[in-house]
Symmetry: C2
Subunit: 119 residues, 2 copies
């Protein structure tokens, strides 16, 4: 995890060791005080069903760098998203994805930082 | 500009009209209340010099989707960054880029939102 506190900082995902999250999920994190960007690489797709819905008080945006996902959220219709697409999640709105491609890279951004991602 | 206020929202950069910022700069924005993601497409490179330094009280992270840039910041050495690399900028740290490739796509994230980007 790279933390830009008083000076700028850089994360090179090609050379920075990723953190194993769970089977098929690797992440690399760069953050400032109140803003966190998580580069999430997923493999092992396509999935036969979506992840369970989850929610958090953090605001979230996501940019899809590669791959294809079905984005699901309470109160909205499912959206099929691929490279170049984004989604945004207000606080506490339950949401999920289903990986439709073999692999995907998602750039997730959170405010405030996900303290649960820090160890 | 897409604003996810109470429900989630989606931005498809391939079909959403971009906003002309200045010669060679087009942006598309998705935001929640306190978090803004700006997909910035730059063309007309490579540049012979960097943009003037600028600073803002907003925290910033950036993911480079394509292209190559020289990232410059006060107090840090210049960093040559390309697809898959990220940088982070704490509040009020002067910084700039120089486009080294012909085109680039940057995903800039800000907290709080850049009110100066809203019209």
């Amino acid at each position: 995890m790279i933390h830009a506190q008083t000076l700028t900082a850089v994360l090179r995902t090609a050379s920075e060791a990723g953190e194993f999250v769970r089977e098929g999920f690797t992440r690399r994190i760069i953050r400032t005080g109140e803003l966190m960007t998580v580069v999430l690489d997923i493999e092992g797709g396509p999935w036969t069903e979506a992840d369970p819905y989850h929610a958090h008080p953090h605001e979230q945006t996501c940019y899809i760098v590669s791959g294809e996902v079905l984005f699901l959220a309470e109160g909205s219709r499912p959206e099929r998203l691929s490279a170049g697409d984004c989604f945004a999640v207000p606080p506490n709105v339950p949401h999920s994805i289903q990986l439709l491609s073999q692999t995907a890279r998602l750039v997730d951004n959170f405010h405030p930082v996900r303290e649960d991602f820090l160890k």
